[in-house]
């Protein structure tokens, strides 16, 4: 009984709502399906590629992300995550992971000479120390290709043998040898004419580094060539012993012991092989930054300057911006809108271009600053350590006062009229009113911005790098650190990501220092703004 009563009136609306839902979901569902197909296709491609490249970390991460994505978007288990997930993936991979990874690298010796795993380092050393075997015959050699893979065909006492980097030499019975004794046809391979190799630089390089093992036994060495015409057997002068964990140079008899603490192969006399491997070294990077005479002094100066730069920039630009805001927050001044727009011009000009522009204008001989304002005197604005610091501060003031002018103008206009009125009636003079009411109210509303600005300038890589590249260099150190280097540019220099000697470990350790400073400052800002209360 009740069911029929309920059924009848409910039937029509249910039908319409279903129909409406179907229409609504039609487009949404199709686009979702297409998007998820693309995501899954990308994910699977990455997974297979990761297996091929033996990148297990990426493989695991991709599998997890893909499974989670499919669960989120094809079930109703976690509806909010449908909205948060895309952003979350990017945040996790490119921000959270990179921060955590910085923390890990800071405790390793990762850098030039310590880029690889131990096994890779062993292989690299063996290859680097290969020498032509004494008394090895020279074989007439032909470069061949199978697909994209290069190989060598040699003629050994009339028998043609062919192989690639992966495939040791094998006898090729049906190959054809010409009058000069070189193979001209090898079944299963394309013969590459020597002229082709000489005209292609990349192929030249590939041919010179190509090693075709003589047999499955690595100790027998491999065929290499310098001229793509003659091949010889090369063998490493080093021998690796797995049980003893030593590399022995069979020529000189020197034994290099693998040291798991430093990630190097060390001989008794202290010399090491060029290629080491990556190991966790504990606090070594931190102690190096604090005690190594090459780094400690310069880094202390850099740190002090970083603080000075950030604090002075905030104070000076805040001061100038505030003064201008007070002066021109005056209804009696005509054309305020036009003035204001002109005042903030430096802010509207892209910052990196301004910095580069000032680098030119501050040029000692040809810059217009010297030419226009100092009668052509050759003042070394960017070459003297104190002048360089002063110039950097002034340029940054030029760049950032408009921001504070805008902020302070806004804050001044937002001051409660009643309070101002009341103070005036109570007999406060202009200066008294400013000191006791305007300034405190202004500081409260701008303090969080000042802290954010401090944090920004603490890491203001762009202006420093564009203007001085950190220079002038400190003479007492061969690290290349300069008097205007901020911590972030010092890190950049030390890290060697732009070439030169790389020391990711030390650079990451310094990054941690920056993270701590920024974290502490942000924590203060966090308490100040009490953003949490808004939740």
């Amino acid at each position: 009984m009740p069911s029929t009563v309920l059924d009848d009136p409910e039937a029509p609306p249910q039908r319409t709502s279903l129909a409406r839902r179907w229409q609504g979901m039609g487009w949404g569902f199709v686009s979702k399906l297409v998007l998820m197909m693309l995501v899954n296709a990308f994910g699977l491609a990455t997974i297979f590629s990761a297996i091929g490249a033996q990148a297990w970390g990426i493989l695991i991460a991709m599998v997890v992300l893909l499974v989670v994505a499919d669960i989120i978007y094809f079930t109703k288990l976690a509806v909010p995550l449908k909205y948060v997930f895309p952003g979350l993936v990017f945040l996790l991979v490119f921000q959270v992971f990179t921060m955590a990874y910085t923390g890990y690298v800071a405790f390793t010796n990762y850098g030039t000479g310590h880029n690889l795993t131990q096994q890779q380092a062993i292989d690299a050393n063996l290859i680097q120390n290969e020498k032509k075997v004494d008394g090895s015959p020279t074989y007439p050699l032909t470069v061949v290709r199978s697909g994209s893979e290069l190989g060598f065909a040699i003629v050994d006492e009339g028998v043609v043998k062919v192989g690639t980097a992966e495939q040791p030499l094998q006898v090729a019975p049906d190959a054809v040898v010409d009058g000069s004794g070189r193979a001209t046809e090898v079944p299963g391979f394309d013969v590459i004419p020597t002229s082709d190799i000489y005209s292609d630089q990349q192929m030249q390089k590939d041919v010179v580094v190509l090693r075709v093992p003589v047999s499955d036994d690595a100790d027998e060495g491999s065929i290499r060539t310098q001229d793509a015409i003659n091949g010889a057997i090369y063998r490493s002068v080093l021998v690796w012993s797995e049980e003893l964990q030593t590399m022995t140079n069979v020529d000189t008899g020197v034994v290099y012991v693998a040291d798991p603490n430093t990630g190097s192969f060390i001989a008794e006399d202290g010399s090491t092989l060029t290629v080491g491997w990556r190991v966790v070294v504990g606090f070594q990077n931190f102690t190096k930054a604090l005690t190594d005479t090459n780094y400690a002094g310069p880094l202390l100066k850099v740190t002090a300057w970083t603080f000075a730069f950030a604090i002075l920039t905030v104070l000076s630009s805040f001061f100038v911006g505030l003064v201008l805001a007070i002066i021109f927050n005056d209804e009696r001044v005509r054309g305020r809108k036009v003035w204001r727009t002109l005042f903030i011009l430096p802010y509207a000009f892209p910052a990196f271009m301004s910095a580069l522009l000032f680098k030119g204008m501050l040029n000692r001989q040809f810059g217009i600053i010297n030419d226009w304002f100092f009668g052509g005197a050759e003042i070394p604005w960017l070459q003297d350590q104190w002048l360089a610091r002063f110039s950097v501060l002034m340029v940054n003031l030029w760049l950032s006062y408009p921001y504070w002018f805008l902020v302070c103008t806004g804050a001044l206009q937002a001051l409660p009229k009643e309070t101002m009125e009341a103070s005036r009636i109570d007999g406060a003079g202009a200066s008294k009113q400013f000191r006791s009411i305007t300034l405190p109210l202004l500081l409260i509303s701008t303090a969080p911005l000042a802290i954010a600005s401090f944090a920004f300038n603490f890491n203001n890589f762009t202006i420093i790098w564009m203007l001085t590249e950190g220079g002038p260099a400190m003479p007492e150190s061969n690290t290349g650190l300069g008097y205007t280097d901020l911590l972030i540019s010092a890190i950049y220099r030390i890290s060697g990501v732009q070439g030169g000697k790389a020391d990711y470990g030390l650079a990451s350790a310094l990054s941690i220092l920056v993270f701590i400073v920024v974290g502490v400052v942000s924590a203060i800002a966090f308490r100040q703004t009490r953003k949490l209360e808004e939740f």
């Binding site: 990426i58 921000q95 002066i327 001044v333 002109l342 920024v518």
Partner: protein, 303 residues
């Protein structure tokens, strides 16, 4: 001085004749001096920009001899831009900037919608975590970004070094936290009654998001898109690390390269390139001043 104001307010008519000279001297003391100050400030603010404009029209490509403003008028530098990779860099910058802006806006809006409209377990904790994470600048972790892309490039070449897509992904990762917060506040200011009534009418959460909320939050979408674009446009350190090949560079990397070496610096090219790149930015910025300042005071991206 201010004490006289109540008097004038009380009796505005009679003292007017008397006040005329005092008013004038007061104007001199209180207002007139502000005009010279304004002129000085405008001079300081504008002379580098006038100089770069003048240098861009100069025939000589070097710093020397560019001191006299508008001594020559030649478009040689602008024409010479065509022989360089300049326009490729402009295109790259636009590609990276727009992709970042669109991606960051969509992802930020979606996340803000979830935090603002759904009540779920761990919401507060997630918000707090997000707030803390976004405080740490991504640029400081550039070594890890470099190493990550190095590893990713072996598996997925489009996410490796020297890929614009990889750079966009890096920017998206760094932008999300702050943007979500900026938008979260705005989303909260939209009354929930709107979505509730939509729900009653049978709208799904996706429909509510796309058809109802998104049109209502357009102002904040514009602000976030603009700020994200500006961040991508102005970034140097990450783009320098990621984009290694000249044809992939953005303007910041390319133009730095033009003038970084004193010996081969080509200031004429730089000036012309800077003028072209800066004009749209300048116009956009001045036109949208109000929004940008609002966004900056909330997020503080630059300054």
């Amino acid at each position: 001085m201010t004490t006289t104001t109540p008097a004038t307010a009380k009796a505005p008519k009679p003292p007017e004749v008397k006040k005329a000279p005092t008013k004038r001297s007061r104007w001199m003391v209180e207002v007139a001096w502000k005009y010279p100050v304004a002129v000085l400030v405008v001079f300081i603010a504008a002379f580098p920009l006038v100089y770069v404009l003048s240098a861009s029209f100069s025939k000589i490509g070097s710093l020397a001899g560019s001191s006299r403003l508008f001594a020559q008028f030649s478009l040689a530098n602008y024409q010479a831009l065509g022989d360089t990779k300049y326009w490729t860099w402009v295109l790259n910058t636009l590609e990276v900037g727009f992709a970042t802006a669109i991606g960051a806006t969509l992802m930020g809006a979606a996340a803000a919608y979830a935090f603002s409209r759904f009540r779920f377990r761990g919401r507060r904790t997630s918000l707090t975590t997000l707030l803390i994470v976004q405080m740490f600048p991504q640029t400081v972790a550039f070594i890890a970004v470099f190493l990550l892309l190095l590893a990713l490039g072996n598996v997925v070449p489009v996410l490796g070094l020297n890929s614009k897509i990889a750079l966009i992904c890096v920017y998206l990762g760094g932008a999300l936290g702050a943007n979500t917060f900026l938008m979260y506040g705005f989303f909260n200011s939209i009354p929930t009654e709107i979505d509730e009534s939509a729900k009653v009418d049978g709208a799904t959460h996706a429909q509510t998001f796309w058809r109802l909320i998104m049109p209502l939050v357009t102002p904040i979408l514009a602000v976030v898109a603009l700020l994200s674009f500006m961040v991508a446009f102005g970034d140097f350190i990450l783009s320098k690390i990621v984009l290694t090949k000249e044809s992939n560079w953005t303007l910041a990397v390319g133009m730095y390269n033009w003038v970084s070496d004193q010996l081969v610096a080509n200031w004429g090219l730089f000036a012309a390139g800077a003028v072209i790149a800066a004009i749209p930015v300048l116009v956009l910025f001045l036109a949208l001043q109000r929004y940008i300042v609002g966004g900056l005071t909330a997020g503080s991206v630059k300054g």
